[in-house]
């Protein structure tokens, strides 16, 4: 081996050992420095992704309208397009009112934020929001939507944060089942990249009397999630020799999520 290659290899091994032995705190510092360095492109990238998503949604909508209007004459067609645009605005308006109402009636102090990026990494089910430490968001705070639990804060930065979604295998939630004494641990399933992912509810008793359609709520145990937040609905139950497991459909449509709420603290 050439001396230069040998020196390079030794330096490389030293560097790799250094990287592999870093503590959680140092890793966080490296991540903060990395995201700070790329923050201008992160902002532009998120904006581009949001615009593309809106454009695709609009295109899809227009195509549907075109098919419907193909049999109707031009004047009526134009009026229908205008009407559909109004309906879209009305729907958006209703959604925002619903969100505002949610913020008013919730028992928690929450920060509203918009999803600006989805699945920025290959394997993890994560999303990014446009609110960060400057609005009081910290690590491991739970994230909700109008319909139920979304996930928890994984990486808060100055003005944006990353959410670990409930569909990720790493996001475990202690849950109870409506109308049943059963409690278990719910988590996402590895490699479930379909558009309708399901969650796996484990550690249920062997003879758990559960039915598809029963709702699943957080227990509040474990120190992360507040109690009584809707997580999803049971779709099927699998009985094993030692325990039972159930598949749960998330209450929140994570593919179509726009506004979320980060729980800062519980109101007393």
């Amino acid at each position: 081996m050439k001396p230069l290659n040998l020196i390079a290899l030794l330096l490389f091994l030293a560097g790799t050992t250094w990287a592999l032995t870093r503590s959680e705190r140092v890793v966080r510092e490296i991540q903060v420095a990395y995201f700070k360095a790329i923050s201008p492109t992160l902002r532009s990238g998120s904006a581009l992704e949001t615009k593309t998503r809106n454009l695709l949604r609009e295109t899809k909508h227009s195509k549907k309208l075109e098919a419907e209007l193909s049999t109707i004459r031009g004047e009526i067609g134009r009026l229908r397009i205008i009407e559909s645009r109004f309906k879209e605005l009305e729907r958006e308006n209703a959604e925002l009112r619903h969100a505002l109402n949610f913020k008013k009636i919730t028992e928690f102090d929450v920060v509203a934020a918009n999803i600006i990026r989805r699945h920025p990494t290959t394997w993890w089910q994560t999303a990014e929001i446009d609110a960060g430490e400057d609005r009081g968001i910290g690590i491991q705070l739970s994230v909700l939507s109008n319909d139920g639990l979304v996930g928890l804060i994984d990486r808060p930065l100055k003005n944006r944060s990353s959410i670990l979604l409930i569909t990720d295998e790493k996001c475990q939630v202690s849950v109870r089942i409506e109308g049943s004494p059963e409690v278990g641990i719910l988590s996402g399933q590895r490699g479930d990249f379909d558009n309708n992912p399901t969650l796996r509810l484990r550690f249920l008793s062997k003879n758990a009397s559960l039915q598809p359609g029963q709702r699943v709520f957080t227990t509040g145990r474990g120190g992360i999630f507040q109690p009584n937040i809707l997580v999803g609905t049971i779709t099927s139950v699998e009985r094993g020799s030692l325990d039972s497991e159930a598949l749960v459909r998330p209450a929140v449509d994570l593919n179509d999520l726009v506004t979320v709420f980060v729980v800062l603290s519980e109101k007393h």
Partner: protein, 194 residues
């Protein structure tokens, strides 16, 4: 040579910035174009081993900074089986492995046959993802192999490979700019034939 090597490092850093603009294709099981990996793989075949190791170190550490999740601190009495994560820095080893794989075809590349290296970028990307997923499965237990995982790995590899001629062209232009030859053997053969 030195200026070309530095430009390859610079190109890799730019790739990290460009990667932020690349969304996942939800219709293709969240497959995406991995520009960081592509730039690394193309550069790995066109530089010497020490520079490849430097690129693997930078690429791996920044990729882990981009991707790694925080450890969830929860009550161990409730969450008795926390989901394990890979250590920060493991991507350096994966990048290095793929770098050496690319360098295996460097004699062909130096002879001007870059097409084989372009095809190998797809294979290397697929192997990278497969190794990454195998490591995750190893630390978490249970090997789950679904159709959506295969689709993700295959389409990501194909999408990444499609852009490899462009990155090779970019490296070729950089080599010209810095008075460096990517295909020294091809030049020799030409001279011999004259």
């Amino acid at each position: 040579m030195l200026r070309f090597n530095l430009s390859a490092v610079f190109l890799l850093l730019i790739a990290f910035l460009v990667q932020q603009f690349v969304p996942a294709f939800t219709g293709l099981s969240h497959a995406r174009f991995l520009i960081v990996h592509l730039v690394f793989l193309c550069a790995a075949v066109s530089v010497a081993t020490p520079t490849m190791l430097l690129l693997a170190f930078i690429g791996g550490i920044l990729w882990d900074a981009h991707c790694s999740l925080a450890t969830i601190v929860a009550d161990p009495e409730v969450y008795t089986n926390p989901t394990e994560s890979l250590r920060f820095g493991y991507s350096i080893l994966l990048f290095t492995g793929m770098g050496f794989l690319m360098q295996g075809l460097s004699p062909l590349f130096r002879a001007g046959k870059w097409q084989f290296s372009a095809l190998l970028t797809g294979v290397a990307t697929f192997l990278y993802l497969a190794a990454d997923y195998a490591l995750i499965s190893f630390v978490r237990g249970d090997i789950v192999m679904s159709r959506s995982i295969m689709r993700l790995m295959t389409f990501t590899a194909l999408l990444t490979m499609l852009f490899s001629p462009f990155v090779f062209w970019l490296l070729y232009r950089l080599a010209l700019l810095f008075d460096h030859s990517l295909y020294p053997e091809a030049g020799k053969n030409k001279r011999r034939s004259f």
